[in-house]
C-alpha cells in the first residue's frame, strides 16, 4: 500500500482528505449499521487513517464526513446509490463503483448501470482495487 501512497502523494492534480478522526469512524459505522449496510472493513479504515477520501481526475475514493465538498462521504453515497445490503460502496469512477462485499469479503468493481461485478480483489489486494478506480500511473 505504501507504493500507492507514494504515487498518490506525488500527483499534483489530486485532492486528499486529512486523516479521519476515531470519533467520526464510530459514528459512521453506527450510521451504516442502523441503515443495514455492511460496516467499513479494517483494510479500508487503514487507508482513511492516511487519506480520508481521494478525488483524482473524475475518480473518487469515499471517506468519512470529509471536510471538502468535492470529496464524497461513504454514508451519503450508500444511502443515495446502494440498494444491495451485502455491499458497501467505497469509491467510483464514471462507469463503476468500488464496493466491499461482506459475504465474499472481497473488494469488487461493480458496473454502475447493471450491477455486474467486473473485477474482484481479495481484501489483501485493496491496493489493486484502488489503482483500478483511481487510474493513477507511476511513470
Amino acid at each position: 500500500m505504501n507504493n500507492l501512497f507514494n504515487i498518490m502523494s506525488k500527483q499534483q492534480l489530486i485532492k486528499l482528505g486529512s486523516p479521519v478522526k476515531a470519533k467520526d469512524i464510530i459514528l459512521c459505522q453506527k450510521q451504516l449499521l442502523s441503515n443495514r449496510f455492511p460496516t467499513i472493513p479494517d483494510s479500508f479504515l487503514k487507508i482513511l487513517h492516511t487519506f480520508n477520501a481521494v478525488s483524482f481526475n473524475g475518480s473518487h475514493i469515499f471517506g468519512i464526513s470529509p471536510e471538502n465538498q468535492y470529496l464524497t462521504d461513504i454514508f451519503k453515497a450508500n444511502i443515495s446509490h446502494n440498494r444491495n445490503p451485502n455491499i458497501l460502496l467505497l469509491g467510483c469512477d464514471e462507469f463503476d463503483y468500488l464496493g466491499y462485499n461482506q459475504l465474499s469479503k472481497s473488494y469488487q468493481i461493480i458496473d454502475k448501470e447493471d450491477a455486474e461485478v467486473l473485477e474482484e480483489y481479495p481484501e489483501r489486494e485493496l491496493e489493486l482495487a484502488l489503482t483500478y478506480i483511481l487510474k493513477i500511473i507511476d511513470e
Binding site: 507504493n3 499534483q12 492534480l13 489530486i14 485532492k15 478525488s55 483524482f56 481526475n57 473524475g58 465538498q69 468535492y70 464524497t72 451519503k76 444511502i79 443515495s80 446509490h81 440498494r83 469512477d93 464514471e94 462507469f95 463503476d96 458496473d111 454502475k112 448501470e113 447493471d114 450491477a115 455486474e116 467486473l118 489493486l128 489503482t131 483500478y132 487510474k135 500511473i137 507511476d138 511513470e139
Partner: protein, 531 residues
C-alpha cells in the same frame, strides 16, 4: 438556432437549390429541433408564497403536498430557487424528512420522487425509465480502456487458457504472420475505436516479441489483449512492473475536454467570470484543460515571488537580495522549491492566506452506456456527441445520477432509469440557467461524421453503412438521410483510395441498387466529376 441559418452542413458539395437536398436538409433540421419546453416567465418570488425569509419560503414550498400544485409553484421560481428546491428535494428523497420522527421519515418518498420527476421537466432534464440488454463484459472492458486511455494488468484468472499456454511458447514467428489479427473476433471489437486502430502496429510488434503464435489470436479475449497492451506500453522497470496500469493513449474523456475548450473557450471563461471565479483559478483551469484535458483539483500557482518564497529561499542559504515580489519566479528556484519539498509555497493563495479554489468539472455520458451501445458501433459510446462537461457539485454528483435505478431483467440487473438532458447538443452544463450551458452539435461536426463511418471498417460497403439486409426495413427517407451523411463523410476516404473510374461507377451502381437513390444523384452528392 439563428446561427444555423448561416451554416451549411456540407457547404462545398451540395447544390442548395436541389429539391432532394432541400428535402434532406429539412429532415436534418427536424431531427435537431427538439428544445426544452417553453420556460415560464422568470419570477424571483412565487406569487402565492409571501415569505418572511428564505428558510420560510423554502419550507413553504417543500410542504406543498399536492404534486401538481408543487410543480406549478416550482416552474415559477427563478433558476437559483429551482436549484435550491431540487437539492432539498433530492436530500429529502434520499435521507428522509428530518423534521419528522424516524418512523415517518420516508413517508413522503414516493411523492418526493414524483415531484422531482415532474420538476426536472422544467429544468431541461427528463427522467427516462427504460429496460436494457446489458453489454457483454468484454465490450465494457474495451469501452473503459477507450474512455480512460489506460489499461490494467489483467489477473491470470482472467486470461484465456489458449493465451496462457501461448505465453510459454518459445518459437518465433515473422511479423507478416500477425496480419491475421484483423480476423480476430475480439480485436475487431477493439478496432471499432480509432484509438486502438492507431496502435495496432505496436500491438503486432508486442505479440511478436512475446512469441504469441498467430493462430492464438483467434481465441484471445479482451483481457488477453489488455495483457499484450499493458506489456507494450508499461514503462516501469522496477519490482512494481507487473502491477497497476499503463497509459496507452489520451483517453476519450481527456480528448473531449481538450476539444471542448478549443471550441468553447470564450463562452466557458465568460461562465466562470459570471460566477465570480478567481482569475488565477480560471487561467490555471483553462491551461490544464488545454494541455492535459483535466478539469479537477486545479491548484493555481504563483507566477511571481511572494514574501514567503523569498524568505524560504533565504533560509536555505540562497542569495535573495535581488529578488522582488514583482518578478517572475525563475525555473531554477521553482526546481529548488520542488526538490526541497517547499512546493506548497508555489500554490497561490488569497489575501487571507487561503488556497484559491474554484468549481470542479467532470465528464458525463449524456446517454447511458447501455443506451448508446444500441448503436451498431461500440466506439460511439465515447463519441464527443455523447459526452458533456458538468459542474461536479451539485449537478453531476447529486442531480444527474440522483434518480438512477436498476432493476432485475433477464436474470441480470439492467439499467432502468436515469436522468437525461433534453438538449442532446449540450456540451457543458454549469447550471439550470441556459446562460450557464453551452451547446455544440457534434453530430454535424464533419469530423464526427467521418469518424462514425470509418470506425469498424469491416468491408468497403459496411464501411459506409450500407448493409444489404437492412434497408428493406427502413423507409426511403431514412435510407436517403443515412446515405447522404455516409457519402459525405466518406468522400475523403474515397479520395484517399484512388479508385479507378470503373470502380467508382460500380460502387455508385451498388449504392443505387440498395437505396433506390438514382445513380445521378449519388454522383452529384459525391461530386465525383469534380474530383
Amino acid at each position: 438556432m439563428a446561427s444555423r441559418k448561416n451554416k451549411k452542413a456540407f457547404p462545398e458539395l451540395l447544390d442548395e437549390t436541389d429539391k432532394d437536398v432541400i428535402a434532406l436538409r429539412k429532415i436534418f433540421d427536424a431531427l435537431i429541433d427538439e428544445d426544452n419546453p417553453p420556460l415560464p416567465e422568470n419570477n424571483t418570488v412565487a406569487d402565492e408564497i409571501p415569505a418572511d425569509d428564505d428558510i420560510t419560503k423554502e419550507n413553504k414550498i417543500l410542504s406543498i403536498t399536492d404534486t401538481h400544485e408543487f410543480v406549478q409553484t416550482f416552474q415559477r421560481l427563478d433558476y437559483a430557487w429551482k436549484e435550491r428546491i431540487l437539492l432539498k428535494l433530492f436530500d429529502r428523497y434520499h435521507f428522509g424528512d428530518k423534521t419528522v420522527d424516524l418512523k415517518h421519515k420516508f413517508d413522503k418518498r414516493q411523492s418526493d420522487k414524483d415531484k422531482l420527476i415532474d420538476s426536472l421537466e422544467y429544468c431541461g432534464m427528463t427522467w427516462v425509465h427504460k429496460m436494457h440488454y446489458p453489454l457483454h463484459r468484454q465490450e465494457k472492458h474495451i469501452i473503459r480502456i477507450d474512455y480512460y486511455g489506460t489499461v490494467n494488468k489483467p489477473r491470470t484468472d482472467q486470461l484465456s487458457p489458449q493465451y496462457a499456454q501461448a505465453l510459454k511458447n518459445q518459437e518465433e514467428f515473422p511479423k507478416e504472420s500477425y496480419k491475421i489479427i484483423r480476423k480476430s473476433p475480439v480485436w475487431k471489437l477493439f478496432r471499432h475505436a480509432k484509438s486502438f486502430r492507431l496502435i495496432e502496429g505496436k500491438v503486432i510488434t508486442q505479440l511478436q516479441k512475446m512469441k504469441i503464435p498467430p493462430e492464438t489470436l483467434m481465441h484471445m479475449n479482451s483481457y488477453d489483449f489488455s495483457d499484450v497492451l499493458f506489456e507494450a506500453f508499461n514503462k516501469k522497470k522496477d519490482h512494481t512492473r507487473d502491477k497497476g496500469n499503463a497509459t496507452l493513449f489520451l483517453g476519450a474523456r481527456q480528448r473531449f475536454v481538450k476539444d471542448f475548450i478549443r471550441k468553447n473557450k470564450k463562452s466557458f471563461i465568460e461562465y466562470l467570470q459570471r460566477h465570480n471565479v478567481d482569475e488565477r483559478y480560471i487561467s490555471a483551469l483553462v491551461q490544464s484543460m488545454e494541455t492535459k484535458g483535466i478539469t479537477s483539483n486545479i491548484k493555481p500557482l504563483n507566477e511571481k515571488y511572494t514574501p514567503e518564497i523569498i524568505k524560504a529561499l533565504k533560509k536555505h542559504g540562497l542569495n535573495t537580495s535581488d529578488l522582488r515580489t514583482s518578478q517572475k519566479i525563475s525555473e531554477e528556484h521553482k526546481k529548488f522549491l520542488y526538490e526541497n519539498h517547499l512546493d506548497n509555497l508555489l500554490i497561490a493563495t488569497d489575501k487571507d492566506g487561503h488556497i484559491i479554489t474554484g468549481p470542479q468539472f467532470s465528464v458525463h455520458h449524456k446517454i447511458a452506456v447501455q443506451d448508446s451501445s444500441e448503436q451498431p458501433n461500440l466506439a460511439q459510446v465515447n463519441y464527443f456527441q455523447n459526452l458533456c462537461l458538468v459542474v461536479d457539485v451539485p449537478y453531476h454528483r447529486d442531480i444527474f445520477h440522483g434518480l438512477d435505478e436498476t432493476s432485475p431483467f433477464n436474470n441480470r440487473e439492467a439499467y432502468s432509469a436515469r436522468i437525461y438532458l433534453k438538449r442532446e447538443d449540450t456540451v457543458f452544463f454549469g447550471g439550470l440557467d441556459p446562460q450557464d450551458q453551452i451547446f455544440y452539435d457534434y453530430t454535424k461536426d464533419p469530423r464526427t461524421l467521418r469518424r462514425k463511418n470509418i470506425d469498424e471498417p469491416q468491408d468497403e460497403w459496411e464501411h459506409i453503412g450500407l448493409n444489404a439486409s437492412e434497408p428493406k426495413k427502413q423507409n426511403t427517407t431514412e435510407i436517403k438521410t443515412q446515405t447522404l451523411q455516409n457519402i459525405m463523410a466518406y468522400r475523403e476516404e474515397y479520395l484517399s483510395q484512388n479508385l479507378s473510374e470503373k470502380q467508382i461507377k460500380q460502387n455508385i451502381k451498388k449504392i443505387a441498387r440498395q437505396t433506390n437513390i438514382s445513380p445521378a444523384l449519388i454522383e452529384k452528392l459525391l461530386n465525383i466529376r469534380d474530383l
